[in-house]
């Protein structure tokens, strides 16, 4: 009865092998490396860059271990730090022809020494969190002035629309700094406008000013509204940062508001500031404006005239210039989503979704501008670039816009990513960056690992003494549990933090419960006079229901932590939940496998080495299995072996 079919043994061996292979990468150290990533969203890092870097390196007489494209970066690993630093300079010189406006970020980094065959199996080491390896910490400042300027810009648009809708004739609406100025020719019209505007735009305080023959109305954001604008700008930027960082798969990032206008970004597992800046620094602002297609604009494009008043010249992604009106139709604020997909003719397309305000504006603007082109602009570090400038084919109602045209699927993907990246309310600037002390991290690692090792040793020693051979099996199962847990964490690319290490320790401490339950049950069966083989079988079967129950309650707490925890708590919860699952497998299936392998073949098994099984002396009024009603004082005979 205590025999596993062959397939079960095979499964166990396979699980053991997988565990070993995926745990293994964690034991190789890190080697110095150079990492090249794009400094601008319009510069793409692709396969063509690696040969260029290789060439630059060979010119400098440097031999990298390898140069490879990894996602959106090119990595080159070196044997020593000397070569690494020389390589950084060589690559920087070769790629960035204009040092004042670099296209690529070249940074030092560390790469795992995991051998190629393991990498081929996608076996990579676990990332270590900020608290274990040190990490990048950024302080970003949201440019509040530009948030307010932008608000004023969009207010001028609102004013225009409102006045036009009510047929109030004005002599011009413009933005001056953070205020909106509306000119009128008659006092009566101004009064009309004041009533309308103060009713519709409650955030603005309107004050009439006489200016020569004209009447001027100046609107300034009320202080509380200005604060609201700033607050929501920071909030929106934080949300966008979250999306950006999430999209790039950094686990456990910390993105928090600090003070009124600052955002902290902490990226554990990202050692170099370049990659982190690549993630955050590319966040840009997005604007939709109309393309000026007048004769003057065409002349300006040819270089035969000045850029017309109220327009600006931008460069399209292909390199062609474009004259775009200054007036902003929509901003990234109104764009809720951008996804790459396919159009009606299965051609690559970008689908945009606008919020209600955005869709209303877009409907009006597109109706009046059918056949004309609109430009979607991305502003990075103060410089704007046209992402795409499609022609409007029909009225765009319903808030869903589809951009199709001569583009590949890859281009559609890129465009949608850029558009999503653009939904920041205001630009941000790095004002502080720091790495958290790696020595502190190293100390935390050794402390965490020591507690796991010593705790494990203590438990294993106790189990082996108390339960003899079964204790050995239990300890092996516990070791297998640790192996599986580390392997799974490595496989899913989890970031290990100190709370995560604590969770591993706790998972092991709790996992032994299952083996204790099983061993106690087997002893109990033996005590009640069962034969050795029957006792083993019954012990495992009876204990299983209890093990399942107890693990489920622990899992409920773990899942609640996972769902509502943030930052360090999440890391703890993930390991905690995984630990429960692996312990079920190792404590029940694996330890049973060992027991079966050892005892299963022995047909006439007389005894099992599970430590001494004490049998109570037969008491006068019956056997011990029946509960006695008398209240004997000496019911516990403790401790004799």
């Amino acid at each position: 009865m205590n025999r596993y079919p062959l397939w079960k043994y095979v499964t166990l061996v396979v699980a053991l092998l997988i565990g070993l292979v995926y745990t293994l990468p964690n034991f190789f150290g890190k080697a110095p490396a150079v990492q090249v990533s794009s400094a601008k969203s319009v510069v793409k890092v692709d396969g063509a860059l690696a040969p260029r870097i290789e060439e630059a390196l060979s010119k400098a007489g440097l031999k990298p271990d390898f140069v490879k494209l990894d996602g959106t970066t090119v990595l080159a690993r070196f044997a020593d730090t000397d070569a690494q630093i020389k390589a950084k300079d060589a690559i920087h010189k070769a790629l960035n022809t204009d040092p004042s406006d670099p296209s690529y970020v070249v940074a030092l980094n560390l790469l795992s020494r995991t051998p190629a065959w393991l990498v081929f199996l996608h076996a990579n080491p676990m990332n270590l969190g900020l608290d274990l390896r040190g990490g990048v910490h950024f302080l970003l400042e949201v440019d509040m002035k530009s948030a307010l300027t932008k608000k004023a810009e969009s207010l001028t648009g609102d004013v225009r629309t409102l006045l036009r809708d009510k047929s109030i004739r004005h002599a011009g609406v413009s933005r001056d700094g953070n205020s909106v100025e509306v000119r009128f020719r008659e006092q009566g019209v101004l009064n009309q406008a004041v009533t309308l505007l103060s009713e519709q735009l409650t955030d603005v305080r309107w004050t009439p000013q006489a200016e020569g023959a004209e009447f001027k109305l100046v609107g300034v954001l009320k202080p509380e509204a200005a604060i609201r604008v700033q607050e929501s700008a920071v909030k929106q930027n934080i949300t966008s940062l979250h999306n950006r960082v999430n999209e790039l798969g950094v686990s456990e990032p910390v993105i928090q508001q600090q003070g009124l206008n600052r955002v902290v970004v902490e990226l554990p597992g990202v050692q170099d500031t370049a990659r982190a800046k690549d993630i955050i620094g590319r966040t840009a602002t997005l604007e939709v404006r109309m393309v000026d297609e007048s004769a003057e604009a065409a002349a300006a494009l040819q270089g035969n005239g000045p850029v017309p008043f109220g327009t600006e010249r931008f460069v399209e992604r292909g390199g062609r210039p474009l004259i775009v009106k200054r007036q902003v139709v929509l901003t990234g604020e109104n764009l809720t989503d951008a996804q790459a997909g396919f159009g009606e003719q299965q051609e690559p397309a970008v689908h945009l979704t606008l919020d209600p305000k955005g869709s209303r504006i877009m409907k009006d603007v597109s109706r009046e501008n059918i056949g004309k082109r609109m430009a979607i602009l991305l502003f990075e570090k103060g410089k704007g670039e046209v992402v795409t400038a499609p022609a409007i084919r029909s009225e765009l109602g319903g808030g869903r816009i589809q951009i199709t045209g001569a583009m590949t699927t890859q281009e559609a993907n890129d465009t949608s990513l850029l558009l999503r990246a653009g939904s920041l309310a205001a630009p941000m600037e790095f004002i502080e960056e720091s790495t958290i002390g790696p020595s502190l991290g190293a100390e935390n690692i050794s402390k965490g690992i020591n507690s796991v090792i010593y705790g494990f040793a203590a438990i294993a020693l106790f189990m082996c003494i108390y339960y003899r051979l079964f204790g050995v099996f239990s300890s092996l199962a516990l070791g297998f549990n640790l192996l599986l847990l580390v392997a799974i964490l490595s496989m899913i690319g989890a970031t290990l933090t100190l709370p995560g290490v604590a969770a591993i320790a706790l998972a092991l401490g709790m996992a032994i419960d299952a083996n204790v339950l099983i061993n106690e049950r087997i002893r109990e069966e033996l005590r009640n006079g069962a034969a050795a083989q029957t006792a083993i079988s019954a012990g495992y079967e009876r204990a299983f229901a209890t093990i399942l129950d107890s693990n489920i309650t622990t899992l409920i707490a773990g899942l609640a932590l996972l769902a509502f925890g943030s930052g360090p708590i999440r890391g703890f919860a993930i390991v905690h939940c995984l630990g429960i699952l692996t312990s079920m497998f190792s404590a029940v299936v694996f330890s049973r496998g060992l027991v079966n392998l050892w005892y299963g073949r022995q047909k006439k098994l007389k005894s099992v080495a599970i430590g001494q099984v004490w049998k109570p002396a037969v008491v006068p009024n019956g056997t011990s299995t029946e509960v006695q009603m008398d209240n004997a004082s000496n019911v516990i005979n403790g401790g004799k072996v």
Partner: protein, 344 residues
Amino acid sequence: MEFFRINRDIPFMKHALIFNVISFVTFAAAVFFLVTRGLHFSIEFKGGSQMEIAYTQSADIGKVRGVIESMGFGEVQVQNFGSSRDVMIRLPALADIKQDEIVNRVFTQLCKTEAGTVSREEKISAKGEAISRQVCMNATGSEPVRLSRSEYIGPSVGDELATDGATALLVTVIGIIIYLAFRFEWKFALAGIIANLHDVIIILGFFAFFQWEFSLSVLAAVLAVLGYSVNESVVIFDRIREAFRKYRKLTTHEVIDHAITSTMSRTIITHGCTQMMVLSMLIFGGQTLHYFAVALTIGILFGIYSSVFVAAAIAMWLGVKREDLIKTTVKDIDPNDPNAGAVV
């Protein structure tokens, strides 16, 4: 080797009232301290700045405190952290001063006290990582103080964390009640959860009484312990059900006694093993894991007590009966059915 050699069932339930009184008193004391002293929340919940500073020599805590207090940042905490050379400084969140400036100003001031100046150092570590950090250099070119870590957290984040923590606790409690009610019976579910919430309150009571720092990891420990010690109640309830089936003549009282006695060995050994691991964290885990391990230790110890003495006792007071657990299988034969009996 076998520690527990128990001839007869120990009549635990005879003393149930005493146990419940003890529980109630500890519980009341915990609530009292929670209310009067409150929890000493970490900056994760409150917001504020925290910096860890390493001196080359033993740090003079009094002097450091004096320097910072003279800067007027309100309530400042200065304490040793790990060794006598490491100092942890906590500063409250202040509305009128930018948080990152506080750390800089404090560090600069402390550096000045050690006759050094703050500058920026850019270097590449032996492993090949680029490191850029603030250093405090004195005239001889050595570093008397080093900023090993700084942290500042805005107060708004803290509120969110507190709500999330409370939600997690609530969801865990509800989840466990539902599971226990489904698996056993509502009386057990209620008894189990009361017993274990009593543990949670007692852990919090300890933290309030000693004014230990209540951080996010302590919250994680509390929830983990909640799930873990419910196990204990589950194991005992399981045995109670089994005993109800096996020994039809025994009263509820005796059944519970039997269940507790027969699981005692397992209870002690399991908790002992888990405690070994926690103890190892307490000894080797350093300052960061200290209160995490402390919370687990209290939770594990009270977990044994509450599952054994409180949960079962409450189930008993609630009037658990054999019929509650063993569903008598009603024969699905209708006596009025003319075709009944003709079963092949």
